[in-house]
């Protein structure tokens, strides 16, 4: 390198202004690679998990597995009562939590004055979202099972899970409603609509895909939950699907837990088969949510 000592110093020689450029870019590339690896490590783990569960349980999957009730014999046991139980609970959860969650979101976004009450409710919802699911189980046990005398029933389970996913539905619906531009609202008012007419005919139809996506994702969380339902009392041996709202029940995650807890190798495989069924149900729900999001999402 030619030039004055000062120039050499600037170009990376020893001195006050030492750029050490090559070293720094190398550190940078190493860091970028590390960050990339960190990103894919989770996905790699997911792949290993899916392959492992498929290899453990796929050979146990059959029509009989879907059609049979519980049995002490691994070859005869099936997932039908749990599958139906999950669907019942899911239905009740959806019917209860959807109107409550969307209604709360509408009130918070469209009606609530900017008051302390609104702030209190908003903070409360954020905190409820962080409450462990098992604590909701305790709530269900104390309030629905005992105080309201629903017993260890499908109904109590559905209500418990509805409260569990309520904060998720509220937050997702609020975001969807907030994304509706206010010019739409002003337009509706200008045409003489009342507030509810404005919401009903303009805000909700536009926000609906977002609300539904959030609700489906919340429901898919509910269908995978086991802990609160153990507390509410779903673990009993249930040979038949529920026939009414106050019947005994079990759900797929609880059934999997039940099978995992048994020492025999066969039941471990059946737990894996049950996990496959559960994951398929979940993937279907998630695919529906993604479809809704892509099909109906609009940019303003």
């Amino acid at each position: 390198m030619t030039g004055s000592p000062r120039t050499r110093e600037l170009a990376g020689g020893p001195g006050l202004f030492n750029t050490r450029h090559r070293f720094r870019t190398r550190v940078g590339s190493a860091f970028a690679v590390l960050c990339f690896l960190a990103t894919v490590v989770g996905i790699f783990f997911l792949a290993v998990l899916l392959v492992d569960i498929w290899r453990d349980g796929a050979h146990r999957l059959s029509l009989d597995f879907l059609r049979n009730g519980q049995s002490r014999f691994p070859d005869r046991t099936g997932i039908k009562p749990a599958l139906y139980g999950s669907l019942w609970v899911l239905l009740i959860t959806a019917v209860v939590s959807f109107p409550l969650g969307v209604g709360t979101a509408i009130w918070l976004e469209e009606y609530a004055p900017n008051s302390r009450l609104k702030k209190l409710i908003q903070t409360n919802i954020a905190n409820l979202a962080g409450v462990p699911s098992i604590v909701y189980g305790m709530l269900g046990l104390a309030i629905f099972v005992r105080a309201m005398a629903m017993g260890r029933s499908v109904l109590a389970a559905g209500f418990t899970l509805a409260l569990l996913i309520l904060p998720v539905i509220i937050i997702a619906s609020q975001e969807a409603i907030r994304a509706v531009p206010s010019s739409i609202r002003l337009g509706a008012y200008a045409l003489g609509a009342t507030r509810w007419e404005m919401i009903r005919h303009h805000v909700l139809p536009i926000a609906l895909p977002g609300i539904l996506t959030g609700t489906i994702l919340a429901l898919s969380r509910a269908i995978g939950e086991a802990a609160p339902l153990i507390i509410v009392g779903a673990l009993a041996f249930v040979p038949l699907p529920p026939r009414g709202l106050l019947d005994d029940f079990t759900v797929i995650p609880i059934q999997i837990f039940n099978w995992v807890s048994r020492p025999q190798r066969e039941f471990q495989e059946i737990a894996a088969a049950g996990s496959i069924v559960l994951l398929v149900v979940l993937l279907t729900l998630n695919a529906a949510a993604i479809y809704l999001r892509n099909r109906y999402s609009r940019k303003w």
Partner: protein, 342 residues
Amino acid sequence: MQQEPRVTEEGAGRPTPAEAAASVMPQSPAAPAAAFGSGRPRGLGRPVSGARRRREVIIRNVLFAFSAVSILTTIGIVFALVREAFGFFREVSVFEFLTGTEWTPLFRPPRFGVLPLIAGSVLIAAGAALVALPVGLAAAIFLSEYAHGRVRRIIKPMLEILAGVPTVVYGYFALTFVTPLLRSIWPQIEVFNGASAALVMGVMIIPMVSSLSEDALSAVPSALREGAYALGATRFEVATRTVVPAALSGIFASFILAISRAIGETMIVTIAAGLTPKLTLNPFESIETMTAYIASTAAGDVPHGTVEYQTIFAVALTLFVITLLMNIISNVVLARYREVYE
């Protein structure tokens, strides 16, 4: 959009017939017999009839009642936990509960020291944090600072799936895949152990750390990045010395939320970490967390009214208070230490 339209502010009072007669507007088909609006000329269109106005008020009140459910839920949780825990604390002193080092509710005489259960939860959460915090933060930096839009659109949903896998399935995986794998490396590990559960739980909470941290990183204005580049910083230096410090409050908040989630998680630890309450820091032994105790005891169908039934409420109250404190801390960190730009 918080502007109050006139319609609802005028209240639901039915106007006098004179006012109705004075109105020149056509009658509303929705409420043929109802009186018209307050008599102020409104031009063309449907008048705000009494019925429409009443409907507005009813709907507003119903929606408010829906919002109150979330408050009632909190009250219900506190009430349910405190009531049964109160019965428990009449038998066992709070001091003994919080400082005792043995948890043996079924022995004679029983011992009700919750520390072994808390230690179990902390051990698992610490192990999970060891996995999830560095990996999640690095993934967030990659997604926010390095990845292109398309890569991000592919990777983010895949990470979301990781967060959506049911925890029983993770529990199964921890017990039947991770534990045998760990045992093939260190044969002295027990079948039920904290390490395997912590590892799997760590992976489970990676998406939580990465997505919340990424939000915080993306919120850092690009002017800061450009300023750092202009001073000659490399991409690595921009990311670690400018963007990460600027987003630190959001990153910390995501860390705390993820740890709180790990403490509250139930199924992985119930299946894979064991049911042996033990005051230990050894991750290779069988332990028991607060959540696992609650789940396993409740699954055993304990009779209502016994001390054993009450213990699960006392432990759940402890768990609730711990996670609530962590969530509040995370909110305070977010609100207080946030760098506000613009």
